[in-house]
Amino acid sequence: MATVRNAFSAIAVALLIAIPFFHNGYVTGLFVVVAIDALAATGLGILVGAAGEVSLAQAAFMGVGAYATALLAGHGWNPWLAIAGATTAAAVLAVIVGYPTLRLRGHYLTLATLGLGIIFVVVLNQASSLTGGPSGYGDYPQLHLGALSLTGDVPFYALAWTCVLLAAAGRAVLRASWRGRAMRAIAASEVAAASIGISVRTRKLEAFVLCAIAASIAGSIYAFYVGFISPTSFGFEQSIFLLVMVILGGAQKPAGPIFGALLFVLANEALQALGSHLFPSTAQSAVAALQIVAFGVILIVVVRLLPQGVAGAWLGKVTS
């Protein structure tokens, strides 16, 4: 079984490397989107799988990354420094939201992030002098690497997937560390974890900050990739989608959220194509509604049949 899994992993990595060489802009672009979602979902996977908390503001943290990066770069910062600045801002915001709510027992972080996820879009729309409001913001330079300008699908494909693999590797390292063990203990039984002296609040806050950082970097990459950002990309719905990806792929394994993002984005494309094909005359919004129904069904099936997620079922028990 292990041999088969290794063979499949090798094929998966080979395919990942091969995709840009097909010179198919659609496919490569689709996989950039997968990577950006996978990065944000990997961060969320740390919070859900390793610390037993749920955030409903992961898209808002992507938005913080995207907007802060674009605004800083638009005001003359070096784009790479802008990314670093945006990441710091997201981390600080995570501490501001997480510190008070994680001191309370109960689902207060979930509630607070629910509020944040909704308010964030309102603020983006209202602060139009800064953000461009609903019509978006695109007045910022491109990403450069030395003299090389990073534009188009292939450079971002490489950048985004590198970040995804680094994030997954980082989570694997965390998982094997004392900090990761403490987080998993909290996820398994918070009261027992506290009763052996694990600092529950601190570990949860760390997980939440890591979760926000991953989302923010995903947002930064997104901002430079599309070159124009608007509030609709960071709405509450996207936060739910990211949570679905984590559950779909499995929160416990580092590879889970990546599988989840891949399945989600591909299924989304397929459903969109199918919807337009089956109901050519129907309005786009009706097709979108059908998509949500289809995802609901997929989610129910996964939760019922594969409670560990697709990756959990596929990779089996990890002996960490």
Binding site: R184, S189, V191, A192, I196, S320
Partner: protein, 494 residues
């Protein structure tokens, strides 16, 4: 004796209208082994939760080595040297056994490599050598208890709180546990233990603290506490001197079981069981652990499909029916470990019981409340906050609201103090007098026998013998062979 390590003074904690802890005071001195006993619902686990700050006391003071613990977090108190195990197991599922212990070592700053060495040692001392790589949730119940103990010891505690460490353990495991407790005590560790197994409590403790209705009833050496008439009355209730019942054999047959074979996984748990149940009787099914008692009840209730054999109920075959269909025919099962809906109120739990016949009436609810007045006082309380005994009463009440002709009960006395067991058995007696037939599975057989009309002994998946309850009690050889003991659990205190 040296100074007190732990001092509890007038601690109080209320939940809604119920005082879980209503003025508890006692102390534990350095190096002492103190046991905390009392009937179910006396507030023992709540006291642990107050010491560890899982609950915030409404008033009173708790001091460790003279320092007040008020306002500290659970983890801060753990780092001060208070470790605990849990009545309901709280191992870290999804992690290996060794990582459960390593996490505790690392929490007090032991470096990872040393932590793994020490964890191996601690697991070996707990009797879990060879289980290091097993996932914690895959260990047996007894092994998970031992893992919790090893994990607690990994914090290098000054004070170890054990919440019913022997409950659910086999006799061999209990013996191993006692050996380990003696070793820990010899090493100077201070231990405060909640335990229902009074034989262990009286033999092992320096002192015993008795709680009753959230208050300290008595404190003293085991011999003193055993002599204290208040304790005997509160803890044991009246001794049961009722004569065993004998029944006439002219009752009609309600249920017939023939050659029933049921598999649980790969295990042939029922291996050709044959049994009759008569209308209006209380039949006690007794037998050793793993003999197939619960599987028999589960098969009757439609939870497990039999591989072969017949079940005839009121003249109709019912084998192969689903659990819902069996309930609609009038057979209700009160499962082992109660399985109440913890997040629902008492009243809602009872309403769920009436679900199968799509109706409930106030009169029927009142009937349950008459049987169990304690439930009436707590109708709006969440079932998860009830004591074990109250949860058992609720589970029985829920079963009764299905208006069964046949009530199946699996281990209703499990983990409960004798006094609560007596209360529950009295209620069952009333239910039987109202005409409901009862089949009762009990490991603690002698406690059930005064109540039973007839008994059936199950041995390795077959009904080895049946007869009138009076006959079983008089046959010492049979009792010794099939019940594994010659005296009830509660005797050693008297």
């Amino acid at each position: 004796m040296s100074a007190a390590l732990l001092e509890i003074h007038a601690a109080r904690k209320r939940f809604g209208g119920v005082a879980a802890v209503d003025g508890v005071s006692f102390d534990v001195r350095h190096g002492e082994f103190v046991s905390l006993i009392g009937p179910n619902g006396a507030g023992k686990t709540s006291v642990f939760n107050l010491i560890t700050s899982a609950y915030v006391p409404d008033s009173g003071e708790i001091r460790l080595e003279g320092h007040a613990l008020a306002g500290m977090t659970i983890s801060a108190i753990a780092r001060l040297g208070v470790a605990r195990t849990f009545q309901t197991l709280q191992v870290f599922g999804g992690m290996r056994a060794i990582d459960n212990v390593v996490a505790a070592l690392e929490a007090r700053g032991v470096h990872t490599a040393q932590a793994y060495d020490q964890a191996r040692q601690l697991l070996a001392e707990a009797g879990l050598a060879g289980q290091e790589q097993a996932q914690a949730q895959d260990l047996s119940f007894g092994q998970q208890r031992l893992l919790e103990l090893a994990r607690a010891l990994a914090t290098k505690p000054k004070l170890l709180l054990l919440d019913e460490p022997a409950s659910g353990l086999s006799r061999i495991e209990v013996a191993a546990l006692i050996r380990q407790l003696r070793r820990l005590r010899a090493s100077g560790l201070t231990i405060l233990m909640i335990e229902h197994d009074l034989r262990t409590v009286m033999a092992e403790s320096d002192r015993v603290v008795v709680l009753h209705r959230g208050m300290t009833l008595a404190t003293g050496a085991p011999a003193e506490v055993q002599q204290n008439p208040d304790v005997v009355a509160a803890y044991l209730g009246e001794s049961d001197e009722r004569p065993r019942r004998t029944v006439s054999s002219d009752r009609r047959q309600l249920l017939a079981v023939e050659d029933l074979v049921t598999y649980r996984g790969d295990v042939r748990a029922l291996d050709g069981a044959t049994l009759d149940v008569h209308e209006g009787e209380l039949l006690a099914i007794v037998g050793a652990n793993g003999a197939g008692k619960s599987t028999l009840l589960g098969t009757l209730a439609g939870l497990y499909a039999p591989r072969s054999g017949r079940i005839t109920y009121q003249g109709q075959p019912i084998h192969g029916l689903s659990a819902e269909q069996v309930v609609r025919r009038g057979i209700a099962l009160v499962p082992e470990r109660r399985h109440v809906f913890e997040d629902l109120t008492v009243a809602r739990n009872l309403e769920v019981g009436a679900y199968s016949r799509r109706g409930k009436s106030a009169a029927e609810l009142d009937l349950v409340y008459t049987l169990f007045p304690r439930l009436k006082e707590r109708t709006r309380q969440r079932a998860g906050t009830l004591s074990g005994g109250e949860q058992q009463m609720l589970a029985i009440g829920r079963g009764l609201l299905a208006k069964p002709s046949l009530l199946l009960l699996d281990e209703p006395s499990l983990g409960l103090a004798p006094r609560v067991v007596a209360e529950i058995f009295d209620a069952l007696d009333a239910v039987r007098r109202d005409g409901t037939t009862i089949v009762l599975v009990e490991q603690n057989a002698l406690a059930a026998l005064p109540l039973a009309d007839r008994f059936a002994v199950i041995e390795r998946g077959r009904v080895a013998s049946t007869g009138n309850a009076a006959d079983l009690a008089s046959d010492e050889g049979l009792a010794a062979a099939y019940l594994g003991k010659g005296e009830p659990e509660a005797l050693p205190i008297s």
